[in-house]
Amino acid sequence: MSNLTRRKLITTGLAATAGAAGLGVAARLAEKYGLIPPDHGGFYGLGETLTYASQRLLTRHSFAREFSRSQISKPPFANEIPPQNDAFKRLQAGGFADWRLEVNGMVARPASFSLAQLKSYPSQSQITMVQCEEGWSYIAEWIGVPLSQVLQAVEVHPHARYVVYYSIDPDWWESIDMADALHPQTFLTYGMNGDELPVASGGPLRLRVPRQLGYKSVKYITRITATDSLKGFGKGLGSASPEGGYAWYAGI
């Protein structure tokens, strides 16, 4: 056996062993830390799983970049919004005084919050970027209460793994894992650039998830449900996005 052939054999053997060991370790880690996204099935499941798992490992505690006040986009940009339904128009006519946020599911004390109640928590602000999957972006100051505080108030169950959230538009719902739900920058947002949150930007209430693309920051939030499984929600793919052909995890 020549040197080169032996070297080749050793290299191939090493690569195969490393590959098999790597897969084994990866599967075990994925199981333990919940690194499999709900839309892991189908042709694109492998890429989605690799993206979600690697970013979860890398970014569990990392913070979205924050910007200086001078970097806020002027004029503020607002994306196209679908026509408002009658329920929204009625609440808008009343100055959103009757707007309610239901919080239920795996929580000890299900509750319904008015905007005034949400505003009674110490307000926080962040200057972060909204990035659309199309390619455009803008920076704004977002004012609100961290979702984690509201989840604490309702005593979310320690076994809850996801938070599902709904717009007043019944076709628009998303979900995030607890790493994002409890992240200090995930805000229930009611203000923008020192003012009320305009309807065009998601007012009166928008859930900001600044470490993911804009479509995860759902506008006009009315309901939040904590759960340990996404199977019973819609088609079980995690949110409306995968049902419409878009990835559930949008940290890209």
Partner: protein, 253 residues
Amino acid sequence: MSDSAYVASSASAIPAAVPTTTVPSRDSARHSVLVRVTHWITTLCFFALLVSGVEIVISHPRFYWGETGNDLTPTLFKLPIPSSRDLVPTGYGYVLPDQNGWSRYLHFQAAWLMILTGFLYVIAILLNGHLQRDLLPGKSDRSWRAFSTAIASHLRFERPSAAEAWSYNLLQRLSYLFVIFVLFPLVIWTGLAMSPAFVSAIPASVNVLGGQQSARTLHFFVSLALVLFLLVHVGMVWFAGFRSRMRAMLTGK
């Protein structure tokens, strides 16, 4: 096995008219199984990335420099094409079909497959000597004179000698090295620098590029450079003998 190494060194030692006797026996492969398999996986992934990349770009064919950019901000440049989204002011009275959903899934799927293949390839060529033997320029070729001679002979469109079918010439080596160790890492980096989650963990990855929109613009230009390489690569294969080069990359013979 060891003859191919011998040819590579003797070919560079005698740049002019390599005698045919140094061509190795026909039963050794021109391209190893590893090179052939990774080459075609990369080809497949590249086309998937290109098609899905074009689909993603047409949803917003405007480019910016800095952190942010949108329909209200000035552009660095615009592609003179219609868009797949109706908000973008393109000057066209119609929109193209929107294919972003599957394009984004496919883009990342192909990127992962290509990155894993690339890692396997780079580790293997470091270990098995392919990098040292066939990609890094031979000792006698590491001079400006050798470089300008090679450029001149290319500009005269001299047909490659028989020996060149068995080893890469100087310009080929340099362009492959540039693609493998400069363009591919750059396209991966500029891609990751667009990810809000990735840059939350490693903010410097986007800050040194000048911002998220700068990363997007650079990603576009590095992709263009890769497409340019592809065109020249296929052109050179055609020029050198399409059937035999194709056979070599498919069967090894």
